[in-house]
């Protein structure tokens, strides 16, 4: 089959060039969804093929930005997997409450929904000014959206349902103001948030966190990149700290299994053991 092989070669060369030129490393991403994203980007671009796109992408940072955006689409919701947030509230918060100050890292925060969900959770659990949330993503453009905290109003119905299933204690409408077809989250929710660009594939670890959320990020990586990222998450987590993965991600059969205990079967919330 010469046609698909040619396209794979072209994609590979483009990603290699992107890594050397811009330092963004997509070479160890799982291929099926990466290829779909690349094809979607190409179809929406003015280029007939990846080889034709390669020069402009490498020479023009603005063209590269469109590619980066296409490759890092992350769709998320507030309180996605409500039961996971319920587990956080019921099983993890009681431990964290004993800390004088809480450092939380949302790795791969995309447009910020998860970071805001956490801020709401911590506020309701009485953390007040005793926490800071570091929300990072590879794509600076989504961070701009995350900082704004403005979401399409039509999303809010789903967010509200999730919030209620996650054990929310207030009326979700207390947390946003609607204006035309947009909903703006309460500015006070981001007072204790720091947004920063961070690339899990190439950047260093992130200091002594007590809680790290990295959900539905590892599913996009091949085994060696997944191992690198788990090592980085582990190095960023203080002993006794908690790591939350996505519902279909697990530390089972990884070298980190021994160093962590899952707080409830299949909760995908892990506590780092004290050595």
């Amino acid at each position: 089959m010469p046609t698909p092989n040619l396209q794979h070669v072209e994609m590979h060369l483009l990603l290699e060039g992107v890594f050397q030129m811009y330092g963004h490393d997509f070479r160890d991403y799982a291929e099926a969804s990466l290829h779909r994203r690349l094809n979607k980007w190409l179809a929406e671009s003015r280029f007939p093929g990846f080889s034709e796109a390669q020069g402009p992408v490498l020479r023009d940072p603005a063209v590269f930005q469109t590619l980066l955006k296409g490759l890092t689409v992350h769709v998320t919701e507030m309180f996605r997997d409500p039961l996971a947030f319920k587990a956080l509230r019921e099983e993890v918060i009681p431990h964290l409450r004993t800390y004088p100050f809480l450092k939380v890292w949302v790795a791969g925060c995309a447009t910020g929904e998860e970071a805001y969900s956490l801020a709401i959770l911590l506020e309701e659990e009485g953390f007040k000014d005793r926490y800071r949330i570091y929300a990072t993503d590879i794509d600076p453009e989504v961070l701009t959206q995350a900082k704004a905290g403005i979401y399409p109003l039509k999303e809010l119905q789903k967010f509200t349902q999730n919030y209620q299933k996650a054990g929310g204690k207030a009326a979700f409408s207390d947390y946003y103001a609607a204006s035309f077809d947009l909903a703006m989250l309460e500015p006070r929710l981001r007072e204790r948030m720091v947004f920063a660009t961070h690339n899990l594939a190439v950047d260093a670890n992130f200091g002594e966190m007590n809680l790290v959320l990295c959900r539905n990020v590892l599913i996009y990586f091949k085994p060696n990149l997944k191992a690198r990222v788990l090592e980085l998450l582990d190095a960023s987590l203080a002993p006794g700290g908690f790591l939350c993965l996505g519902q279909k991600e697990s530390l089972d059969t990884t070298p980190w299994q021994k160093g962590y205990q899952e707080i409830a079967p299949r909760s995908r919330v892990y506590r780092k053991r004290y050595e």
Partner: protein, 206 residues
């Protein structure tokens, strides 16, 4: 006796939506526990529905049924279901992958996403089945399977609980066969050149 020649197929992919639980029960319960080709299934479902479907089908069918995990290599004698709220994809090396990319055809998991990535990975060594369902998810993917030389089967819309998914596929392509649900499992056994171990019936009918 099983032949030493292995069947040419590397995977069977199945797409189903409305009416899927009943259809999958009937299809999968008619396959033996040692069916020689891995089966990958996208059933549209509510994002919050958990892993109940795999549990139900596993209890009901001789063949093993489980929810797909990212990175696993699909095995014969096993049915892999797309988890609720995730796309199920096939990597070029045949391993399974999951994503939370945006819904396709309003669906996550989407049949097209499974079919298209499986066609890319397995080319002509793929069997695609499109069963009962509302909407048109799966049509394009089934066409891709056919274009790559794979074998395509569509449930007869006149007997499907919801006819629009198979009907929309038939508007886009002429599959290798249009079959009733009853005929699907025998056709798969035929394609797999399955011969049961001596003294055992190939299927356990409910």
């Amino acid at each position: 006796m099983n032949k030493s020649t292995t069947p040419p197929w590397q995977a069977v992919v199945v797409g189903v939506s409305m009416g899927g639980l009943e259809a999958l029960k009937r299809l999968l319960s008619a396959l033996p526990a040692d069916f020689p080709i891995p089966i990958l299934v996208v059933q549209h479902m509510d994002p919050q529905s958990g892993d109940g479907l795999a549990t139900i089908l596993d209890a009901f069918c001789p063949i093993r049924v489980k929810e797909a995990d990212a990175g696993e290599q699909p095995l014969a004698g096993t049915v892999y279901l797309a988890p609720a709220n995730y796309h199920l994809l096939v990597e070029p090396d045949g391993c399974l992958a999951l994503s939370i990319d945006p819904p396709v055809n309003y669906a996550r998991p989407s049949v097209d996403v499974l079919f298209e990535t499986a066609a890319e990975a397995h080319g002509s060594k793929l069997v695609g089945l499109l069963l009962t369902g509302a909407g048109s998810d799966g049509s394009r993917g089934l066409r891709t399977i056919q274009q790559r030389g794979g074998h395509t089967l569509v449930q007869d819309p006149t007997e499907a609980l919801a006819e629009s998914m198979p009907r929309s596929a038939l508007e886009l392509l002429k599959p290798d066969a249009i079959l009733s649900l009853e005929e699907m499992a025998p056709r798969l056994l035929d394609l797999a050149q399955y011969s049961p171990p001596k003294g055992l019936k190939p299927t356990r009918l409910p």
